[in-house]
């Protein structure tokens, strides 16, 4: 074939778009950053969104709770120990639950005591009509009264020892607010014989020795209580205008005790209000949304501040672990070789140390607060995981061409490590960092549950110790363990779902492998 046959004259060639300027077509879409992409994938996962929402609520609860609540962790009132959860709205509308009521089955003596409290303080103690049942007990028929008991009002009247000026101040308070706090003192001679009832301020009526060294009530011919108030003998210079009945001073309202103290019978609900009025902390009558524990501490505030401590601890631990682990893992992964070998052995050993041993040794050696010990222990055992993850990512990326390019262009090691390779590890690290939070909370709860660390100082408590205390009263007062349990379960469940969602969002290739 000869070339001449195909020869085309050059004039026949015309440039197609002569004089025009050609450009790349501009992208219509906006660039999607890695984080945005992850966020987009995350929002598609309904369960994770719900979980994130619940975590958010629990977090806000734990952060704001201690600030908003008038109660403090240090507040405790042994007289209101073991009271049940009560919501004033449910209480006022008599909805039959969440009203501080507790189903009881008591003997006649106790039933009469409750009736006495009811009559003297004028507040409902027996919330439902009692049902009487007969039961055989040690060969005798005993009647039991089944009803719902108001665990708040049953506190009734208490003896308190006051200094004289405190007593006077209490009288002035009575006059100012027109409430009766001080009730007449009972006659010591007429007080109950049974040893366990001698100090019971609620027995203001005539009693006799009953069956089995118990106190039995004596009624008059109409079936009413017979008061045993101490008649006025001028022993106490009671000045308040508040009298028990009528305007004349008929009874003694305080009896002198050793050391210039006065023994006073106070209506404890009003006295509680008076104490908080004096302290000015905005608390009126006792009402605890989640009830109280065995020391009379508000469980809501204990739970909230325990949760707050857990959250803060875990966030600090997670960020410190991330920081140290990321740097350590970067160095390991980037340099490889001997450095990696030595550093990896150190990590191996550190990772094998049991948490329990670290905590115990720290506890034995350092005479510092258990908060510090917890923090150090979590740090010692925790950062290795983060280091391992960073190292793995470095191994994956450090031999890629773009790193070589950066090296050729003369980038420094630190620049390649943290500017070029490290961002690839961010997805994995964020996921594991978020998952460190629940695992720290869980370990902290377990450790304080087992009593290995004791975070119960005056103003601090932990969910674990609430659970441990609740465990002791599991059969009698299950409410004490119920709410911390719900809290920790909900938190763990939400964090697991949230973590799954995050992992799927940041590493789409791993989706569903571990659901």
């Amino acid at each position: 074939m000869r070339a001449e046959e195909y020869k085309i004259s050059s004039e026949k060639f015309v440039l197609h778009s002569a004089g025009e300027q050609l450009h790349d077509e501009k992208l219509e879409t906006k660039p999607v950053s890695y984080l945005k992409d992850a966020l987009h994938r995350f929002t598609k996962n309904k369960a994770s969104i719900a979980a994130a929402f619940i975590i958010g609520i629990l977090f806000v609860f734990s952060m704001i709770g201690p600030i908003v609540s008038p109660y403090k962790v240090a507040d405790e009132d042994i007289n209101y120990a073991y009271v049940l959860p009560k919501n004033d709205f449910f209480y006022e509308h008599e909805l039959g639950f969440w009203d501080g009521g507790r189903q009881m089955g008591v003997t006649e003596a106790t039933y009469n005591l409750y009736r006495g409290i009811e009559q003297e303080t004028g507040r409902t103690v027996i919330m439902t009509e009692p049902e009487v049942r007969q039961e055989e007990y040690m060969g005798k028929a005993v009647s039991y009264y089944d009803f719902r008991l108001d665990t708040y009002n049953v506190v009734g009247v208490k003896f308190v020892l006051l200094k004289h000026h405190e007593y006077v101040a209490l009288q002035e308070y009575q006059d100012e607010y027109n409430v009766q706090v001080i009730f007449p003192i009972t006659d010591p001679a007429l007080r109950p014989e049974a040893e366990q009832d001698k100090t019971n301020a609620n027995i203001w009526y005539r009693t006799k020795a009953g069956a089995g060294r118990k106190t039995a009530t004596v009624f008059d011919e109409n079936g009413d209580f017979i008061p045993i108030y101490q008649a006025d003998n001028g022993m106490d210079e009671y000045t308040s205008k508040m009298y028990y009945e009528g305007d004349e001073k008929l009874y003694n309202y305080a009896e002198p005790k050793d050391g210039g103290m006065w023994n006073v019978r106070v209506d404890y609900r009003e006295y509680y209000k008076y104490l908080h009025h004096k302290a000015g902390d905005g608390i009126e009558y006792p009402s605890f949304l989640l009830g109280t524990n065995n020391a009379g501490k508000d469980l809501l505030i204990c739970l909230a501040s325990g949760a707050r401590f857990s959250f803060i601890l875990s966030i600090i631990v997670a960020s410190v672990n991330l920081f140290v682990g990321a740097i350590y893992g970067s160095i390991e992964g980037y340099y490889g070789g001997k450095i990696d070998l030595i550093m990896e052995r150190i990590v191996d050993i550190m990772a094998s140390i049991p948490m329990m041993v670290v905590i115990t040794l720290l506890k034995y050696h350092l005479n510092v607060s258990h908060i510090v010990i917890l923090f150090v222990a979590f740090f010692i055992t925790g950062w290795t995981g983060m280091a391992g993850r960073t190292r793995m990512q470095f191994y994956r990326f450090k031999n890629q061409e773009y790193v070589l390019v950066a090296k050729t262009l003369g980038a420094k090691d630190s620049r390649i490590m943290f500017k070029h390779i490290f961002p690839n590890a961010i997805g994995t690290l964020i996921t594991s960092c978020v998952l460190v939070i629940p695992s720290v909370i869980f370990s902290e709860t377990t450790l304080s549950y087992l009593g290995i660390v004791n975070l119960n100082t005056g103003s601090l408590t932990s969910v674990g110790s609430l659970l441990a205390t609740g465990q002791n009263f599991l059969f009698t007062y299950p409410h004490m363990i119920l709410y911390p349990s719900i809290f920790i379960s909900l938190l763990m469940l939400s964090f697991n779902l949230f973590g799954n969602g995050l992992r799927d969002a940041f590493n789409p290739s791993l989706r569903g492998t571990d659901e």
Binding site: S352, Y364, H365
Partner: protein
């Protein structure tokens, strides 16, 4: 040969890790002062000091006071006592074990821990795997969603929550099972016809195999197994779904196997590759047990002993049990890693 070398290397590394941690722990523990005044009163303290002196951990100095010997010497003597005389020291702070050899108390506490773990493993492994298989076969149907949700709940909720729930509902409200593990002397008196003898300081194995003991262990066994069941179910489901979608399953179906034949003969065997090491690991770690479960159900096991030794600063117990837990943990990890290679020839161990 390659494999043998790798196994040796792993065991060697494990031993090095173990030795370093234990020696550090020993030194740190021995740096602590043994306060003789808190050890016990009168005769007890003298006895304990005598024991310490006979073991070489203490000696009388020139002024007639007892002081600790140098730590290096103590370490040497400690190792010698362990290897030659099987002697891990004595208890000196816990009242009930004061002056007793650590080892004898330890072996007395071991059976309940092991038994509860083994029962729980026996219960959890088949149920967990079966649930996982079922969920994988019914993938994305309601059965799968139900199982996955329940599994998620049981994986997340801490053991002390459902253990308490179990204790409250089954043992207290419904009174189906006893509230705690019965004590060994109780067993002896319950079954006079069997001629049991309770000997402190020995395993007392026969006393654990009777109806009363078994029933009283059940609540703990159940609470232990919930978490494991969920774990196995989740893992099996994930593995099996992956295998079921792989191409050799399609080949198996095209050559004429029914779905169940293909699943049992090909999919399950492949899915079991990563699960089998888990099971082996579980049987190694039956020794260690759970501190939380042992506390809730008041099981007289190793976990309870460890907690008591920590809280009453009983160093010899603490040392021995820490070493024990560490060893069990390291061994379980090692066995799991090595068994991967044994089970699946495709995995070359130690490959770079």
């Amino acid at each position: 040969m390659y494999m043998f070398k790798y196994v040796c290397k792993r065991i060697g590394l494990m031993l090095i890790t173990f030795t370093i941690i234990i020696i550090t722990c020993f030194v740190l523990v021995k740096l602590l002062p043994v306060d003789v005044s808190t050890v016990g009163i009168g005769e007890d303290a003298d006895k304990i000091i005598a024991q310490m002196v006979s073991r070489g951990y203490m000696k009388m100095d020139s002024s007639g006071k007892y002081v600790n010997t140098p730590i290096i010497e103590q370490l040497g003597r400690y190792l010698k006592n362990i290897f030659f005389y099987h002697d891990f020291g004595i208890g000196f702070n816990m009242p009930e074990y004061r002056g007793r050899a650590v080892w004898s108390v330890f072996i007395e506490k071991l059976p309940p821990t092991i038994l509860i773990n083994i029962y729980s493993a026996i219960l959890a492994i088949p149920i967990g795997i079966a649930l996982g298989i079922f969920a994988a076969l019914k993938k994305n149907k309601w059965q799968d969603h139900l199982i996955s949700t329940v599994v998620m709940v049981f994986i997340s909720v801490p053991a002390f929550v459902y253990a308490s729930l179990l204790l409250y509902l089954i043992c207290f409200k419904l009174s189906i099972l006893p509230l705690g593990v019965v004590s060994l002397p109780d067993i002896v008196t319950t079954y006079p016809e069997k001629g049991y003898v309770y000997q402190p300081g020995t395993f007392n194995w026969p006393l654990y195999f009777n109806k009363k003991m078994f029933l009283s262990m059940l609540p703990a066994v159940f609470s232990m197994s919930f978490g494991s069941i969920a774990g196995y179910a989740r893992y099996t489901r994930a593995e099996l779904t992956e295998v079921l979608t792989s191409e050799f399953m399609l080949l198996a179906r095209t050559k004429g196997l029914t779905k169940s034949q293909a699943t049992v003969r090909h999919a399950l065997r492949n899915a079991m590759v990563p699960i089998f090491p888990m099971i082996i690991g579980e049987f190694v770690s039956v020794l260690s047990g759970s501190l939380v479960i042992e506390k809730i159900f008041q099981i007289p096991g190793v976990g309870g002993l460890y907690l008591a030794s920590i809280n009453s600063t009983d160093y010899d117990f603490f040392m021995m049990l820490s070493g024990f837990y560490l060893l069990v943990g390291l061994l379980a990890g090692l066995v799991v890693d090595l068994s991967y290679g044994v089970i699946d020839p495709r995995i070359r161990m130690g490959a770079k």
